[in-house]
């Protein structure tokens, strides 16, 4: 039998028990995650901004200033310087006609052209500077052409001694002044442009620096604020989370323990939600209603247990016993209902045994009252007759009344003794006064006594070994047992019939059999007749009375003596009760 709760039941129970604890935990987790994400984003922003700003500063300083602005300034100054030297060299050559004077011109010309090439590359992406450089280049080219012209004119004298060339050169030299001045002006303008460019670069650097500092400061302050907030809030949240987790664990443990306990409760326990669906179904319920938990859980209670509504109503009324027919067997159950917000728990206890005992007690009262009342009525009637009419009664009649009073009194004593012994057995206070008892003699005495009380014509045979048959036991109690058995044989042999008492002397035990030819006992009731207050003819339809304690007491007494009491019976044929007593050394 599966006594464990199904996974679905466990999840439902755990969900109900921990629902309150999960929500704050999830909320706390999300809060911490969000804060960490914000902090991470800010840190990434700070690092990214720092790297980007550093790169910008580096690029603006390196690319624009070190690689562009500074070379621009240097190269422009170099061009100016070289051109000035070229002019001086050409003038010197014109004066001296000494080619050595042209050295600075030839060196400077190549250097200037090289400088201009470098300048062209540097201002490629700077249109204003490129335009200015274009002017400079044009004027440099013109000046170089002009200088070449002057030089070749001076050199012309080498061809044929003509002075025409030098004279022409001297005349045109004045034009060179104008050209040089114009070039210098343009070069100065370019220098100014470059200085402006340098200044702009510096301004951009400063702006980048300021912007970076501001951004880093803001992001850093925000990160600091988030970190501080987390420092104050996260530990508290963690503490709450831990406390909530502890509480959840406690509740879950309690819930699990409750579920485990309910699994082992013999009563049927049903947990039904507000919609009337079964959420928990323990092993007791499975045993009582014959429905497995996997089948019952999730279905409506009224479908699984057709009598559910009646049980709930009975529980609400406080009924102690409710009849219930399960698989064609009538049972008496005791329902108990507990309701809570969102559901209810119905506990159903199988009270069939209690109900039977209750009914037996009620029957006993009826029977005992009847049993006591009959002899009492007889005694009361005989006593009143003797009291009121003692002067009218003959001596024989008086004697008969007195005998009647004596016999009925003995009957009353017998009934009361049975009740006392029963009470002693219930308390476990029955005392055995053991001795060596001659069973043969004891049986003979009981039979003789029974014969005296038996109706005329009743035969009680006795068969025993010739020699004495002794066994160690309480003689008085054994007598009571034998009296019970013999009197039962007489009572239930309504049509007469033979009664035989046999004593069998076995090696290990002594057996006493009481056989009758009476009503017999149905097989289903052959064990129940030994139950307390159980009577074969409880309604006394056959006029057979009794307390229902005789056989119960007899079996208990024999059992306490270490023996046993059993019955063999065939209805309408007869019964044989066998007392087996062990021989003890």
């Amino acid at each position: 039998m599966n006594t464990a709760a199904t996974p679905r039941q466990r999840r439902w129970l755990a969900g109900r028990l921990s629902r309150r604890a999960v929500d704050p935990a999830v909320a706390a987790k999300r809060g911490v995650q969000f804060s960490l994400l914000v902090l991470l984003a800010l840190l990434v922003a700070v690092v990214g901004n720092g790297l980007f700003a550093t790169y910008n500063l580096y690029r603006s300083a390196e690319d624009r200033y070190v690689r562009v602005a500074f070379p621009l300034q240097t190269l422009t100054r170099d061009v100016l310087f070289r051109m000035s030297e070229e002019e001086s060299a050409v003038r010197g050559y014109m004066i001296t006609s000494d080619r050595r004077s042209l050295g600075p011109y030839m060196v400077g010309r190549d250097a200037v052209l090289s400088d201009l090439r470098q300048l062209r590359a540097l201002v490629r992406n700077r249109p204003s500077l490129a335009a200015r450089l274009q002017d400079v280049q044009s004027q440099v080219r013109g000046l170089h052409g002009f200088y070449d012209r002057l030089i070749v004119f001076v050199a012309d004298s080498e061809l044929g001694g003509s002075k025409l060339g030098p004279v022409r050169a001297a005349r045109e030299a004045l034009d060179g002044e104008k050209r040089s001045r114009k070039f210098r002006n343009t070069a100065f303008l370019m220098q100014k442009d470059i200085e402006q460019f340098v200044q702009t670069t510096r301004d951009q650097q400063r702006a980048t620096y300021n912007r970076t500092i501001a951004t880093l400061s803001v992001a850093g302050l925000l990160a600091l604020a988030v970190a501080a907030a987390m420092l104050f809030r996260v530990p508290e949240r963690l503490r709450r989370l831990y406390a909530a987790e502890q509480e959840t664990r406690r509740e879950a443990e309690q819930g699990a323990n409750a579920a485990r306990a309910l699994e082992h409760v013999s009563e049927a326990v049903l947990l039904v939600d507000g919609d009337g669906s079964i959420r928990f179904w323990n092993a007791g319920a499975e045993q009582l209603f014959g429905v497995a938990p996997t089948t019952a859980v999730g279905r409506r209670a009224a479908v699984v247990v057709p009598e559910y509504d009646r049980l709930v109503d009975a529980a609400a009324r406080g009924d102690r016993f409710v009849p219930l027919r399960i698989e064609d067997v009538e049972r008496w159950v005791a329902p108990a209902l507990s309701t809570f917000e969102g559901g209810s728990v119905l506990a159903v206890r199988d009270a069939t045994a209690g109900y039977v005992l209750e009914r037996a007690r009620a029957d006993f009262v009826t029977t005992a009252s009847h049993e006591l009342r009959t002899p009492l009525t007889t005694v009361y009637g005989a006593a009143r007759t003797l009291s009121a009419r003692h002067d009218q009664l003959s001596g024989e009649q008086t004697g008969q009344l007195l005998v009647m009073i004596e016999q009925e009194s003995e009957h009353l004593v017998q009934i009361v003794d049975q009740l006392l012994v029963s009470a002693q057995l219930d308390r476990g206070a029955l005392h055995l006064d053991e001795s060596e008892v001659d069973v043969r003699a004891l049986c003979s005495a009981v039979i003789e006594s029974a014969r005296l009380r038996a109706a005329a014509g009743r035969e009680i045979a006795f068969d025993a070994p010739p020699a004495a048959t002794t066994v160690r036991c309480d003689e008085s109690l054994l007598r009571q047992v034998l009296v019970n058995l013999v009197e039962n044989a007489l009572k239930y042999s309504l049509n007469g019939g033979r009664i035989e008492v046999r004593v069998l002397n076995e090696s290990a035990s002594v057996q006493i059999e009481v056989e009758d030819e009476g009503l017999g006992i149905p097989p289903a009731e052959q064990e129940r007749i030994f139950e307390k207050f159980y009577r074969l003819d409880a309604a006394m339809t056959r006029g057979v009375g009794g307390s229902g304690l005789g056989l119960y007491i007899s079996r208990e007494i024999v059992t306490q003596m270490g023996g046993s009491l059993s019955v063999r019976s065939v209805p309408e044929v007869g019964s044989t009760f066998t007392v087996t007593l062990p021989r003890r050394v």
């Binding site: 013109g142 052409g145 070449d148 030089i151 070749v152 050199a155 022409r168």
Partner: protein, 210 residues
């Protein structure tokens, strides 16, 4: 004494008149020559004429992909011992380009324009020639470039005269190597090397280009 002075004055006057007459004759002759030289025909010819106009049989041997050079490098070339109307040297089979300054220029009797180039770096002179377009027959290779080169000069610079004129223009020229047997010409290199004919002519500065 006076007679002596008079004789000297008369002699001087006679000389002056003679000089003036000679100058007038020269000027008249020059003006006629300019006109005549533009006219093709009798001036186009000679032993080396076809080499000068890139219309010789070996013209196809010439590599027209110009190689940069300088006057100094050309001056170092060794001239052939015997100059024939055949392109016998690598110098003659290659197109060369160089940058220099034109010192003087004039138009020759055969209609060619002679340019005296000057290298400022090495103080060397060299002659190059722009051929007379009227002497460029249908056999002439790269005829159009030769004509264009000549026009590049004549269209921007002062009119070319038979007399030498100072020019002072920085140019980039391209031409075919040529050995001139006559090395006494004004501005000629010692080895007689020339670029003749010029197939490319570009003014860098001068003649209105600054």
């Amino acid at each position: 004494m006076v007679a002596h002075q008079l004789r000297r004055a008369l002699f001087a006057s006679a000389l002056a008149l003679l000089a003036a007459g000679l100058m007038l004759c020269a000027a008249a002759s020059a003006s006629r020559t300019i006109i005549d030289k533009e006219d093709p025909g009798t001036w186009c010819g000679g032993t080396l004429w076809r080499l000068m106009t890139l219309s010789d049989d070996g013209r196809q041997l010439v590599d027209l992909q110009a190689t940069p050079t300088t006057i100094a490098e050309i001056a170092k070339l060794e001239a052939p011992t015997r100059i024939t109307p055949v392109r016998a040297t690598n110098f003659q089979r290659q197109s060369w380009s160089l940058r220099a300054v034109i010192d003087r220029y004039r138009i020759a009797s055969n209609g060619e324009i002679v340019l005296i180039l000057y290298s400022i770096d090495t103080a060397q002179f060299m002659n190059v020639y722009l051929p007379n377009p009227h002497c460029l027959g249908p056999r002439a290779r790269d005829r159009a470039d030769m004509i264009a080169a000549r026009k590049a000069l004549t269209s921007r610079c002062p009119t070319v005269t038979p007399a030498w004129q100072l020019l002072g223009v920085t140019v980039e020229v391209t031409g075919i190597g040529f050995w001139n047997p006559s090395r006494a010409t004004r501005g000629a290199l010692q080895n007689g090397a020339e670029l003749r004919p010029l197939t490319g002519f570009k003014i860098v500065t001068g003649c209105g280009i600054w």
